[in-house]
Symmetry: C2
């Protein structure tokens, strides 16, 4: 049997350019958007159905006790400039499925992609994995339909597993949330329902270049895919694509061994304390609740709002729920640089309060940019000015990407990859390290190392 890394690479190189001349996928996607009526309205908290504030704690939760709650946390840390703060956070202890069904069609692996509505999505519909389901979804707490294709993921006799690991989500917004990122391969035909479509991995990767077209859930699952480096891929690659393949090759020379990177990461976790205590939302200092939002006194960071949705394409036809609304756009960027011909990514160890384990490996730059006018260049996080001022010929990727529309209200971040020149220093601050794409993939495989922003940005690069 062909090994998974080869199978994935051939799918990534297949038919990618089919997207550009025919726009077949974009047409299908536009048609799916036409096919559905939906309406989103921001409402006062009092109009939430089944959701409400606990009289004792002020936490915002569902009557069933399931889905998620908005609670408070008290954070103490010696990382960064603020040693102590309190904030609201999303607590969602259930592990859900984020999964793609794949199948070989004419010898090439195809992914079953869904055009999925989420209330917070920019454009309402985005490309999504075959299955996105919390345990509450599929134990049917809200008494809607069982999610399509669930049985392929729960009945192990129906498919073989290609990728399957627990991966973290945003540590600034979620308290230790993880999801099960899974890709399975079926042998027999499966029914293709409305809103679903087979695509090669190359076609999926091509959608990344469009702003807000493919959702976060799809991007994180794709980041777990291993690729081989075939000597003759049979397709003409871009110069960056060739460099990326070399960087994915476990035989390529690295600046540091994996053991050295683990030691570096151990030192970071050893140096930095992170003490997070859950607390009642109503007692969170500096935040206030109005009829329509929970927000910071400064108006910065984010707020918690309530929305009503009407739709015909989800498990139930209308519902209300809380969403988290960011007040600033974010910047997520990797600086990459070749050492002896091998592309390396500049990774930082970043502490965020909801992290499962103090620090995770993050992109070179991960910060808010909305209030940049007010921040002098010298006070911005390291490398921020470098990536924002990079000349066009050094930018290998630049698109706006969405955060999860089931929790976040129209949140988008600018995703950038900048190919640094020889003048970029090889020596970097203590909490940064150079890693090849293969090393990042290895740390993704063993999970709990690479954060969701780094994973999603890594998954957005295509080869052609």
């Amino acid at each position: 049997m062909e090994n998974a890394p080869n199978t994935f690479l051939r799918s990534a190189l297949a038919q990618e350019d089919a997207l550009r001349p025919s726009l077949g996928i974009l047409d299908w996607f536009a048609e799916r958007q036409e096919a559905h009526r939906f309406r989103l309205e921001q409402i006062p908290f009092a109009r939430l159905d089944q959701w409400g504030f606990d009289p004792e704690t002020g936490n915002l939760g569902h009557a069933s006790g399931r889905f998620f709650t908005i609670e408070g946390i008290d954070v103490k840390t010696n990382w960064g400039g603020v040693p102590h703060w309190q904030q609201p956070i999303i607590n969602q202890p259930e592990i859900g499925f984020l999964g793609f069904i794949t199948r070989k069609i004419d010898g090439v692996l195809h992914l079953l992609v869904q055009a999925k509505m989420e209330p917070g999505n920019i454009n309402m519909i985005q490309l999504a994995p075959t299955l996105q389901a919390t345990r509450s979804n599929f134990t049917r707490v809200h008494r809607g339909k069982s999610p399509p294709y669930l049985e392929y993921f729960t009945d192990r006799s129906r498919a073989r597993v290609l990728v399957d690991s627990l991966q973290s989500e945003q540590g600034a917004r979620f308290l230790r949330k993880r999801n099960r990122n899974i890709i399975i391969e079926v042998g027999d035909e499966v029914p293709v329902y409305d809103d679903y479509r087979w695509m090669t991995l190359g076609q999926v990767l091509a959608t990344m270049r469009h702003d807000n077209l493919i959702n976060m859930d799809a991007r994180t699952v794709l980041s777990c895919i291993p690729f081989a480096n075939e000597a003759d891929p049979g397709v003409e690659l871009s110069a960056f694509g060739r460099a990326l393949l070399t960087s994915l090759d476990p035989r390529s020379a690295t600046q540091h061994t994996n053991e050295q990177i683990i030691s570096w990461f151990t030192e970071q976790k050893f140096r930095f304390d992170l003490d997070v205590e859950r607390m009642p939302l109503k007692d969170v200092a500096g935040w206030r609740r109005t009829e329509t939002e929970v927000r910071h006194d400064s108006g910065r960071f984010f707020s918690v709002i309530a929305c009503a949705v009407e739709a015909d394409s989800r498990e139930v036809f209308s519902w209300t729920q809380p969403l988290v609304k960011a007040h600033q756009q974010g910047l997520i960027a990797f600086v990459v640089k070749a050492f002896d011909g091998v592309l390396h990514f500049l990774v930082q160890a970043k502490v965020e309060p909801g992290n499962f384990d103090v620090a995770e490996m993050a992109p070179t730059v991960q910060c808010l940019t909305g209030s940049y006018e007010t921040v002098p260049e010298a006070n911005r996080p390291p490398f921020t000015n470098y990536v924002l001022n990079a000349p066009a010929e050094r930018v290998r990727f630049d698109a706006l990407q969405s955060e999860e529309g089931g929790r976040f209200y129209r949140e988008e971040n600018r995703n950038l990859i900048v190919y640094a020149g020889d003048d970029f220093p090889a020596d970097v601050p203590d909490n940064y390290v150079w890693m090849t794409a293969n090393q990042l993939k290895e740390f993704i495989k063993y999970n709990n190392f690479v954060n969701v922003q780094a994973r999603c940005l890594l998954s957005s690069m295509s080869f052609v």
Copy 2:
């Protein structure tokens, strides 16, 4: 430069038999025991100095707020037979150092081993790593001497790092505790103080066969050592040692790929809920506090006691502290079996309340045995009867090993390795999986996977 796995293997094969004819190390060890006077006395809680029960929570802690506290936890889980319970637990959020200094002497790597007193130790003195230090130790909260050799671990210019990762401790007793397991190599001579001695890895491994001679801290650090498989080790190996080397070889055929094992482990974490909430010790149901102990109403499990120590071989000369006293001996056993000539270890996914991440990879059997008389054979945990009834010719390792004497009062567990015959089933329950020694080492490297009992048992096997 020679790679670390080869260096370690040659040290493991060097001079191991020096221990048996000359007993040089045992003589030195006996001499160290003679050289120190110490006295341990169980005392009422009221006689603790600087330690006391918080009037509000009943938690037992140190006046400085450092070291550790004994708190309560409320545990809900769908794993095992008990869905809900409360218990005391040790909370020690600080990450400490457990570290060996090594140096090549006559071309062979030697470890600087310490004869260290801990109040809870059986025989008071046991072999220990060069450095055992919590952050409170080396920030000198108790105003004693700074621990010897600390500077080699904190000043990275003095040594190169061979092994360095965060590793968990007992999930039934500690709330998410980890320590930094580190081995460094120095080039220049270092002073060898009283109570310290250079030993080859082979000599250290030989001490494992003696009951309660080498402490838990040393064993967990040794478990992180990678070994190469040299075609001609230049030393005659035992049949089991040869099989172990083959199992450590990354080129050997495995029953499952690492990706498949990660998927299996993901499934276990997905299936099992573990909801642990910290709570005041005074409110823990089923436990009571007397003048001299905190114990369970049934008299089972463990109790918290207080002790006074006088010694001249520690950073301060006398002190009092709480210790945890087990009421039952434990059994820790691996069943190993050859598949196509390659030794595999039968690993279980085990949920314990203090685990950092729901489940960890544990030995085939890890349970209490003290009350076995009262448990019918059919109700004992899987494989318990198999390992307890194994004929002598199948037992490859059998020794009593101590838990950490700085926290536990004379706690010892029987450590067993049983080489299963062809009649042992290859098919095992869902929460068990067969892994080679190399796979276990790989999961230890990426940490947060393999529990302390499995690591220590793995580290106890020698090659000759």
